[in-house]
Symmetry: C3
Subunit: 235 residues, 3 copies
């Protein structure tokens, strides 16, 4: 082969090497870098789950507290809006109300804000567990109640809730509200002097289903079922 | 060209290619790697905001609870220190006190820890929202109060707070404390028997401004304005 | 040198360059990429600590609330299981019980769930601080108590807790429960009419050590020591 032919061949070889090199660099990132990136992606995936669960804990704590503040002031439309479409509500053994429209009917029967009326339902002592997939959650709460009317009755009440929550389009709602009365007593007569019986049905509204869990308030004793196992023993 | 000249030329070309390659590798990270890194940076930015907001929720829950524990025991200097420089305080319709020095004056008028005195102000049922920029926050709380003196009076009280918080140099403080009394009654006379009127002014201290929100405690009814819209309807 | 020898030499040089290039690319990631990755790793390390601390706050809030719900219903084995091996318990000045077995003995002495008995111990107003290393935590809480028996006594009580927690194998437990009674009164006699004295020892069980902190309940006054400094002043 003539000399100039070899030169051209070698130049073409060189150019080919150059192209192959640049392409090769592009197609094969350092294995070290690839592994560091994969590790970071995995850690960030796990962090996103954890940070979301933490945010959900606070969102649900807020939601149940918001419910309570609406109930205190008879804001029934606002309270009902916090329930999911298929939510159920069961309070004080008065049967189960199913679906938000029925929950709303129940709430509206509880009375209106008016001079001399007190209807405090404090929402306290949360135990909140968000499900692994972040779409549902459960919460145990208790309520200390101060209810009554000027010139009529005054009562203290206490109850345990076992509630459920569902997240739809990034918004948490109550999917189940189940309240078990612990005691309901006259303001000036303690539990030692007996209890005030709560009517088994509202006067004005039948439930969709009779109570799902039969129990009695004080002086009866009842342990509202826990949504969680013992966090240490797992039982 | 002589053979040895061509050899030198080709060796120089090769050395040049080598240098160009190494420099090229350094100056042009894989587009795939660049995009993965940009994606990770974006996810970590979002995570930092979320984790900070979660931390802020707990810090504010702690702060308001800490305030309450100081109030219980008349730790007025400690309680006043929790307020920002320009904070305002308005309690039980007694007018607004503006700035931490005035907040401190108000608190010191509430009485000292002494044998036979009870001044419990429980801090309960938080609804906490941290602003998008993480610099301010708002919280709705309620207080159940047990107050009185051995041999004199004993009262139950209940109130709603709508408070604001500000973060300065990484430390949260209360920038606004506004408490609306729901009821204040004799220990042994329930709300059905009427309420104990709270004096409109402290005997010993005039406010900086008359009450910003006129309202009445039980038997009057009042809905302390919410700092938040309905979390489901947005209204 | 003959032409074909030079060609072979140059081809070998080229192959050697190619190999060196590829190896070089592999061994020397872009300094820019290396720095971006190091920065991401550092940010993710910090985020993991923060997200874990946020999760721990909620886990401890849940744990103490879970304890309270077990106490309400005399679930003594479940309540005792929440304590670490070396945990201590000290309630109402009745001396200190050391180790979970002794905590369990103390709890079992508190009585069983039975018709007409009420033993509510609400767990409220948490101030929770998780240690930097995420292995321990401290919490100040308060309890509002409704206790009594149908036909016998009815009391209101209130107490402050200063508790400690330890995380073992990813599970939080109570390592110290120390409760200071604020008041304990007859249901129908407020704190103005005096207090009900709580016996200094359980009838049936001696402590491992006399009370570590002597104090008196109302009408005495006492400030249970804080596990935290003022969050603003640092004192």
């Amino acid at each position: 082969m003539p000399d100039h032919g070899k030169s051209r061949l070698l130049l073409m070889l060189g150019a080919g090497l150059l192209a192959a090199m640049l392409a090769g660099c592009a197609r094969s990132p350092s294995p070290e870098v690839a592994q560091q990136i994969a590790s970071l992606q995995s850690r960030v995936d796990a962090l996103q789950k954890k940070a979301q669960a933490n945010e959900d804990y606070a969102a649900i704590a807020n939601l149940q507290a918001i419910y309570g503040y609406y109930v205190d002031k008879s804001r029934w439309d606002d309270a009902a809006a916090l329930f999911s479409d298929d939510a159920t509500l069961e309070i004080a053994g008065r049967g189960q109300f199913r679906g938000r429209a029925r929950v709303s009917e129940y709430l509206h029967q509880l009375g209106d804000l008016e001079y001399g009326r007190l209807f405090n339902h404090m929402q306290l002592q949360p135990v909140i567990h968000v499900a692994e997939d972040g779409r549902t959650a459960k919460g145990r709460w208790r309520s200390l109640m101060q209810v009554g009317h000027l010139g009529k009755e005054a009562r203290w009440g206490e109850a345990t809730y076992e509630n459920e929550y569902v997240k739809t389009n990034d918004v948490w709602q109550i999917s189940k509200l189940h309240s078990f009365i612990t005691f309901y007593v006259e303001f000036d007569k303690g539990w030692n002097k007996g209890a005030v019986a709560l009517p088994k049905h509202l006067d004005t509204l039948e439930p969709d289903q009779e109570t799902t869990v039969a129990y009695g308030a004080f002086p009866e004793v009842f342990v509202p079922p826990y949504h969680y196992p013992n966090p240490v023993t797992g039982k």
